[in-house]
Amino acid sequence: MKYTLTLLVLALIALRATAGVSVIAHPDVDAGSVDKITLADIYSLDLLALGDSDLIVFDLSDADPVREGFYAAIGKEHDKMKKLWLRAKLTGSGEPPTAVASLEEMAREVAATPGGIGYVDSASVPKGVKVLATFE
C-alpha cells in the first residue's frame, strides 16, 4: 500500500512537471511569436524589446514545475540566471525581472502591464494576454 501511494505521488509530480508552459505577453507587445533563443536573450537581459515594445519581464520567485519547465525549454538554469540578475542589480547594468509570488500573480501582472512578458501553465492561460510560445 505504501509503495502504491508513493508511486501515485511520484506519478502526480511527474504529470505536474511535464505540464506545458505557455509564454504570455501583454496584448500590446509587438510580436506574434518568439523562439527559444529570443526568450533566452530576453531573460538574460541581452534583449530589452520586441519589435517596438519595450519589455517588462516577470519571473516566478519560488520553485515550481512550470518555472523549471520554462527554463529547461530555453536552455537555462534558474540558479545561474539569478547570479546574472544579481550582477545586473549590483552593477547597475540592467534590470532584473520583476519577481512575482505565484503563477496567478504572473498572469495578472502580464495582463495589466504594457510590455509585460512571463510564463504560465498551458492549462491556465488567462484571458487578456497573448500567447507567444508554447512548450510541452
Binding site: L47, L90, G92, G115
Partner: protein
C-alpha cells in the same frame, strides 16, 4: 574618531536618512557587505624584529619606520645592544572588509541613475589611522541611458568595462573570494595600486551587445581622466592626461572571450620604491594597458583566465633613470612594464562551491620585481541563504625582494638618535625570500 571621520559618518547617515522617505518614489536602496577574520603568517628573511634586552620594540620595514619604531617605544632603554631577528610573525585580525550602500532610481524604461557608497576596512583590531571608519568613498555615481541592448550609455563616475573581473571587483556577493586576485585587492592597494594595472573610474562609456550568427558580440568604449595623481587640490584633472579604452568580446554558448585596451599617462615624478628610494622618472609617461580574458562553464565546473599587461613608452631620458635604478640594485629589472595573470577553476553545487586559483603579478621597477609575486589560493563557501554566503580561503604568497643596503646601514637612524647602540645580526644587502600564509573566513551578505 577624528573630526574628519565623524563628518564622513554623519554624511553617510544623512544621505541614508534623506533617502529613506523617497523609497516609495521608485528609489531602491540596497547593498552588501563582507566581514572576515584572518590569520596571516609572515616569513621574510630580509625583515627584522627589533629587540632590546629581550623585549620586542618594533618591526623593521624601512629606514624611516625603523627610526620611528625605536623612538616611539617606551620600553627602549636608549642604550645597549639591539638584537635583530628574522621577521616571522603572525597577525590575527577581524575586519569589516567592505560595506556598500547603493541608491538606484529608474526614471523610465531607458533612464536610470546609480550611486554606490563604499566603506573599506571599516574596523580593524590592530590600530591604524582612521581604522574606526576606514576609507569612505563614492565609488560610482552615474546616469545610464539604455535605448536598447545594442546601445547603452553611461555618464558620471563608474568602473569601466575592462577585462573580466574588474566590473565586479568590488561586488563581494558576486565573487567567491575573501582576498581577491592580487591587483583587485584593495587592502594591499598601497603595494599593488590597482590604477597601475587598470583604468581608473571613467566618465563616459558606450557599450552594447550585438546578436549575430556566430554569437553575441560585446563592445565597450570609454573615456575619462588618467589616474587621480593628476588631480589638483580642487579635485580637477586640469592636465591633458586623459584615458581612452575599451573591450571587445564574444559570447558563444557557455564560453566568453575578450580583449581590452587603454591608453593614458602615468605620473612618475616621485615613484616610491620603499627603502627610502624615490625615482623621479617623469611627470607624464605614456602607458598602454592590454587585457585578454577567457571564461566558460560546463555543468557545475567553471573557469576564468585573465591576463593584464602594462607597457610604457619611455624616451631615452626616462629609460636612463630606470636603468640607473636597476644598476644601483633598487629595482629588480630595468623596465617599468608590468604583468598580471590569474586562473580560476570552480566547482558549484546547489548550496556550496570550492575553487582553486593561481595568481601572478610582476613589476620590474619594484624591489620584488625579479620573479614577481606568486600566489596559490584555495577556498570555498556555503550558501546559507540566497543572500548570505559563508566563505573560507587559504592562500600562500611568495616573492623575492631586493634590499639595496644593509639594515642599519647609511643613513644610520640609530646613530642619529644619539644613543649608545650596537646592532647585532643585521641582515646584509641582497635578495631575500618572503612568504605570507593567509587563512581567512568570512560572511558575505547582500541586503
Amino acid at each position: 574618531m577624528t573630526l574628519c571621520t565623524f563628518i564622513k559618518a554623519g554624511l553617510l547617515g544623512g544621505i541614508l536618512l534623506a533617502a529613506a522617505p523617497l523609497q516609495a518614489d521608485d528609489l531602491e536602496i540596497y547593498g552588501f557587505m563582507q566581514v572576515s577574520g584572518s590569520s596571516q603568517t609572515w616569513d621574510e628573511d630580509y625583515g627584522a624584529s627589533l629587540e632590546a634586552d629581550g623585549a620586542l620594540v618594533g618591526t623593521w620595514i624601512d629606514h624611516a619606520q625603523q627610526a620611528n619604531a625605536i623612538a616611539g617605544s617606551e620600553m627602549f632603554p636608549w642604550q645597549g645592544l639591539v638584537g635583530l631577528k628574522d621577521n616571522t610573525r603572525n597577525d590575527i585580525s577581524f575586519n569589516l572588509q567592505q560595506l556598500n550602500v547603493i541608491l538606484k532610481k529608474r526614471f523610465n524604461r531607458q533612464w536610470s541613475s546609480f550611486v554606490n557608497f563604499e566603506v573599506v576596512e571599516n574596523y580593524k583590531t590592530d590600530y591604524a589611522q582612521e581604522s574606526e571608519w576606514g576609507s569612505f568613498s563614492v565609488q560610482e555615481a552615474f546616469v545610464r541611458y539604455a535605448p536598447s541592448a545594442r546601445w547603452t550609455f553611461k555618464f558620471g563616475k563608474f568602473v569601466p568595462t575592462f577585462g573580466n573581473f574588474y566590473e565586479i571587483y568590488n561586488r563581494t556577493p558576486l565573487q567567491p573570494y575573501l582576498f581577491r586576485p592580487l591587483i583587485f585587492e584593495k587592502s594591499v592597494g598601497g603595494i599593488l595600486p590597482p590604477e597601475d594595472y587598470l583604468p581608473n573610474t571613467m566618465a563616459a562609456q558606450v557599450s552594447g551587445t550585438l546578436r549575430t550568427g556566430i554569437g553575441k558580440l560585446d563592445y565597450a568604449l570609454f573615456l575619462g581622466n588618467s589616474e587621480e595623481s593628476y588631480f589638483a587640490e580642487n579635485g580637477r584633472n586640469d592636465t591633458d592626461a586623459k584615458c581612452i579604452g575599451g573591450r571587445f568580446g564574444i559570447r558563444r554558448g557557455l564560453f566568453k572571450a575578450g580583449v581590452s585596451g587603454s591608453y593614458d599617462y602615468d605620473r612618475l615624478d616621485a615613484l616610491d620604491l620603499g627603502n627610502d628610494v624615490v625615482l623621479a622618472i617623469d611627470y607624464k609617461v605614456p602607458r598602454m594597458r592590454y587585457g585578454v580574458d577567457f571564461s566558460g562553464s560546463a555543468g557545475p565546473v567553471s573557469f576564468v583566465c585573465e591576463g593584464i599587461f602594462v607597457v610604457y613608452d619611455l624616451d631615452s631620458d626616462q629609460q636612463a633613470v630606470v636603468d640607473a635604478s636597476h644598476a644601483a640594485g633598487t629595482s629588480a629589472d630595468n623596465t617599468l612594464d608590468k604583468s598580471f595573470f590569474y586562473a580560476h577553476l570552480q566547482y558549484d553545487a546547489a548550496k556550496w562551491f570550492v575553487y582553486g586559483d593561481y595568481d601572478f603579478v610582476n613589476d620590474g621597477i619594484q624591489p620584488w620585481g625579479k620573479d614577481g609575486v606568486n600566489a596559490l589560493i584555495g577556498g570555498g563557501g556555503i550558501r546559507l541563504t540566497d543572500s548570505i554566503t559563508w566563505k573560507f580561503q587559504v592562500a600562500q604568497y611568495s616573492y623575492e625582494v631586493s634590499v639595496p643596503h644593509p639594515l642599519f646601514g647609511a643613513p644610520d637612524p640609530l646613530a642619529a638618535l644619539g644613543g649608545d647602540l650596537t646592532p647585532v645580526n643585521a641582515p646584509a644587502a641582497g635578495v631575500y625570500k618572503g612568504t605570507i600564509l593567509d587563512v581567512q573566513t568570512g560572511i558575505s551578505i547582500a541586503f
